[in-house]
Symmetry: C5
Subunit: 361 residues, 5 copies
């Protein structure tokens, strides 16, 4: 429930730089895999160059080029040339950090930015950008999960012989990738929900200053998540609305389903936000209750012992008993001392009974 | 007023699965009942197979197929084939948990998802999905109330000979089911309102930490309810707006009435949310008031007994009365002891009067 | 400022009942008055039957039929037949409780539901539904104020010979009734505002737990009022927007004025809501201030008397003065006792001065 | 920063009165001035009658008729007849109190209601209605500032020979008056901002219950101001949008500028509202801090003197020193008394050091 | 994180002044630089007069006239004449203070107002207006950063021989300047975020009244920033929407990218606002926790020493031991004194153990 580091690694934008400038930043491509497929089969080639891409495109099948890792300027330029991708879009691919999900159309190529959220072993959330290009018969995808290959489930479906995905257009593959990125939020949110429940149980039982810290961190995480996830619904809505010829009517039906999922993710998130907000209220009221308990104890103690101490002090006064018959005659009584103890005990018990009756403890 | 368990049983979505995949999950169909009806009569058949469905459809009457329980993949596939229902819609039927109410149109068949909320004996709220298909001359409905058959009132109306429902189209039956699901919220909300009133009375009388817990749970329940109910108004609005030829103008008049009910449900819910919000404020102020009461008591006790104890201590000092005429001569006075008691009593009464005047108790 | 009972008497809706079902509930018609009028005069008939209504309609004048009280099913059916009113609308007329204001059009007849709010002698607010039908040349109105006849001012205008209302169409009468219901909120709100001012003054002066209760009740009342009043503006807006031929352009000018009033009612209400919200803040800060006052007193008392008591205790110690010259020689000084009193007084005054300087009291 | 009295003097609306009824309320016209002007000059006439107005209108110049004060029914009727003003608009002119700013069009005459806010010597804000009619070649204006003539700056511009205003149409004069009323809010808001700054400084320094009162009053004032000012932006937007032929394109450019000013006024207001909201938070936290300070002092005092008093009491016990060697032998030591003082001082200093270390004071 | 002074230097608007009035306020032009450029080269001239401007415009190249500093009325009038700029726009250029960002179109010239925010050495934020005119083949820009020339990066790009900017139209230069002003917010926000993190760490560790002050100041700063920045997104959206022929389709692609940046700035700002809001909650709960700690200490001390002091006082009572066998016989026991110490120690340790068990410290 810690603040996602990825989200706070704010985008470094150098004001005044030419738009579409590709910088040679710390890059690390982990794998570039080119697939060409049609209803008959799939062919795979790793680390293709521009010529290979051209040759594959010329063959007439559908192409999926998937880049895992952070691409350098050279690779991006090569892909831009091979598939006709716009420089501004490529600049967006390279911009690390949590970018705002969006969909754009450049010269007949759709470009979508989504966010993938992963929970690291350390418990921190990491937001990674996923970039997708959809052309007439190709999909180019970029993702940077340092752990597993997040697109593996779709790749497996494509590689299995009997899956109908092969027979469908590139727009269906594009939809499958978008759907995958959105559905990946469900297990994550479920996990988050469990932690919120645990936090609530903890606050209701014993509220420590650490709880306040945890609640604030949960709220910040939720806000960052919201910022990363909320626009994805609009991305899908735009894909549905868009009269872009690249997405065919039969695929739109599936995208509508995908839109429902995106909306559901947001609603779950909003529920958590409300829960986290309520937690702070509970926390504050728990602290106030604690204070009441403490003060009640102090009051009980003080109220019992102050009168007793006063009485004991009275009989510690040094009035001269010889001065007259009214000068502390109690001190001379044979049963004065047991009597005063009876008074002490009566007062103490009376106080306790009175407090009980008023519901003090 | 406990958190609805059904709502927290979050939808298990396996990211990357083919869309429209029907899984063989724990299913349990409790009854499948097929009715064919027209203005002349109703014929009923339980657990029909695809052939029966086809035969009934061929007869030309209006059909209502109602499934109670959780359908398995086989049944869904059979119904899909018999009535031409889309796979994506069937997948939504099978997805358990509280789904977002919506209305979709697949190949000339309307598909609506609604939520039915039931209060269980244990006091927990249970949200169950209700799925409805409306075709040219049929309605297929799915519901999973484990207790009573929630569609029984409509079934009774259809089965009673003189009800005009038989003579109306399938869209009227569809409307009747939607209306029933929405109207079922009224008694439930009434019950919820009574519990909120009881909670408010409790908080105003004696606010315990349990009250805070109850308030937070009520707020969560209300939020979950809201999430389940709010989109139903949009569902009805969409049915009204939709230029779908399936719903005829004469039925739209009734749907408009249904829309008013849905809007009213939401407004009652919003009132409860506001009340629950105000309860937390009252609770916090009740705790503060309690603290004030406690501190007031402590202050009264301390302010009365501290000066008295001081005075008693003074006359417990051991100054040598032989040292001079100013060395504690009071101790030697014949009426010194009664006099000091007079002082004690005067001071105490004076304090009490002063506190009374300042409105301390 | 108590919670309106009328608003909490929630509508009893029996889920699954046929729409447009008229129930024979506890009804009590207090008066049915039929007026037929034109620029030449007004004729009045009480408790008309269907034939009378038909005869009056046939005459060609404008008709106003006004029902005071809760109509039974028979009367509604008769009126429905005589004026061509839709069953769904008649069902809405019969539904008691605070319904959502709305305007509907059934077969060329406009149907509007408004809420009239009345403050009863007991101080409770009572929300009563007002239903209005506008046909080509008739107005049928239902209202249920148990006290005065709320439509009396309009009836008087119609009955007075020189009022231009007689010469105008039924739509003008309809407007006049809508305007009356909306304007009736102004004195009520004014009264409510005065009570809020009184409550604010009370909270600023002395905040008791009763104040919290009163604030919460005021907030609930305001919320219920808002729910009852807010949609009325939309009702008037709909009447303005509607391309219904029943309302003529010259009447629209008046409705626009009526819309301004409805908007003004809402704004006053919002101001009160904000004030009531602020009251809770003030209340909480008043309690905190009170606590500060109490604690300040306790601290002053303790800080003055604790050192004094300690000093007195010191000179109550029983060190053997014969043990040596340093064994409490003060006790033997001739002016020891006056000296210790000087110390007592000095310390007390010093403390008081110090507290004053720090602004403690 | 006190609550504007003008805003609370709620409009007295008598429900059920004929619309457009002009009442003979307490009126007091302070001046009626008629100007006819064109590019060649200005002619002025005070207190004109209907004939004069007609004669002036016949001459063909542009007319500005300005009424200062509260007009009576007679004057309004005369002006209505002379300029063709609608009765409903005239009724709105007469309605005192803070009306909602709006713009309406009656029979080819534009009617705008604005609010002028003035700070009185007493520090109270007073909201006064300004009403403006724009006809084909005339402007009729009503305002009721009891102090200065608020339209004086525009009048001066019109009266000065070289101002281009004379050569422009009546719509430009209309714009100039609207612009003036809106711009008059800037100095007022600036003043309000200064007072908020002062209040913030006061709360940060020493928060008294009076501060809470002042904050609440500032919030109420801001809310009332907002209600008075917010719709003015819409008024200008409506003038811009309106396809009313009365406002010519060249004047629209100026109105757009005026719209920017109206939007800026609202933004400043919103900033103040947010500041005032934050003030309450600061105030509450200041009170809590104060309480902490008080309790810290009490705790320090109690923690130092309670152990000391206990020790002193111990050596005030009367155990019989002759009973045995362990019976309070300290009392007989020659240096017992100095030793106990050393203990007292050591304990006190130790406590103080410990508190310092824990950052208690 | 202090309140931006620039934003509080409220715009001085003199109500009733003629629109488009240029005042001879304290002006200080620091540099006026005229550039004419095309794909072949750039020519620069400082402090041009109207004739120079005309001559340059006649040559047919693209023109950029950049004014640094506060222009006086003379310069504005000259530029208005030379480039055909509208008086109202020029008045807006001269209005100092934080104006609302907007875009307007006057006679075929686009006029945009943006805000540049700079953090001064003193830590204060300063908001400075940037005004941009875009004509068919010219850009006129005004900015007033007192420090560096904020347009320097774009000027350098234009001056470097190989930059494609020279070959593109004036609309591209216009876009580059807008983009620069928006991107300049990123480093500033990053800095602000770091300070918020530091503030949060401080509040979580030790909350002082200074923290409350800092939080309130951060919130005010954020509100002012929001007011300055939020409308810039709409400015870019308007430039995109506008069917103004001045911005060509190929430039629109870049503006869309710029829109994304503006949206991102706003989202970061909203995150900070939420964080700052949460800080206040944490601060209040930290104070409450502190109070609990203090009271716990006081309670522990009082609960231990009050019973002990009472016991010591009991044995300081002066009952006459000769009165009988029950008159304080303990005082005569040989081991009475050690025994009472054992009781003291037992009680103290018992209390401490009990407090530990209840988790008191």
């Amino acid at each position: 429930m810690a603040v996602p580091k990825g989200a706070r690694r704010r985008t470094k934008i150098v004001p005044g730089l030419s738009p579409g400038t590709l910088t040679d930043q710390v890059a690390g491509v982990r794998r570039v895999r080119l697939r060409v497929y049609d209803e008959h089969g799939v062919e795979t080639r790793d680390d293709p160059d521009e010529a290979t891409c051209g040759a594959f495109r010329a063959r007439g099948g559908r192409i999926w080029l998937d880049v895992a890792g952070v691409p350098d300027a050279g690779l991006l330029r090569m892909l831009g040339a091979a598939f006709g991708l716009h420089r501004l879009a490529l600049e967006d691919v390279q911009r690390a950090g949590a970018q705002r999900p969006k969909v754009d159309s450049y010269d007949g190529v759709l470009f979508a930015v989504l966010n993938d959220v992963e929970r690291q072993a350390s418990g921190l959330l990491e937001i990674e950008q996923v970039s997708l290009f959809l052309g007439p018969s190709f999909v180019v995808s970029f993702h940077d999960g340092e752990g597993d290959d997040i697109f593996a489930p779709v790749a497996r479906r494509l590689d299995s012989a009997d899956n109908p995905m092969r027979g469908r257009g590139s727009d269906y593959l594009f939809y499958a990738l978008v759907d995958l990125v959105i559905d990946r939020k469900f297990p994550l949110l479920e996990d988050f929900g469990d932690r919120l429940d645990a936090l609530e149980a903890e606050v209701l039982e014993r509220a420590t200053p650490d709880s306040a810290r945890a609640i604030q961190q949960a709220r910040r995480s939720l806000h960052v998540l919201r910022r990363a996830i909320w626009p994805e619904r609009d991305v899908v809505a735009n894909l549905l609305r868009d009269d872009n010829a690249l997405i065919r009517p039969e695929t739109r039906v599936y995208l509508r389903d995908c839109y429902d999922h995106a909306a559901q993710v947001i609603e779950v998130l909003e529920t958590y936000r409300e829960t986290a907000s309520g937690l702070m209220d509970i926390y504050v009221s728990a602290i106030s209750n604690r204070l009441n308990d403490i003060m009640r104890l102090l009051t009980v103690i003080a109220t019992i012992f102050m009168p007793l101490s006063f009485l004991a002090s009275v009989y510690g006064m040094n009035f001269d008993r010889d001065a007259g018959p009214l000068a502390m005659p109690e001190l001379g009584w044979a049963y004065g001392y047991p009597a005063i103890w009876c008074v002490f005990i009566t007062v103490a018990i009376g106080m306790i009974v009175w407090f009980r009756r008023r519901g003090f403890f």
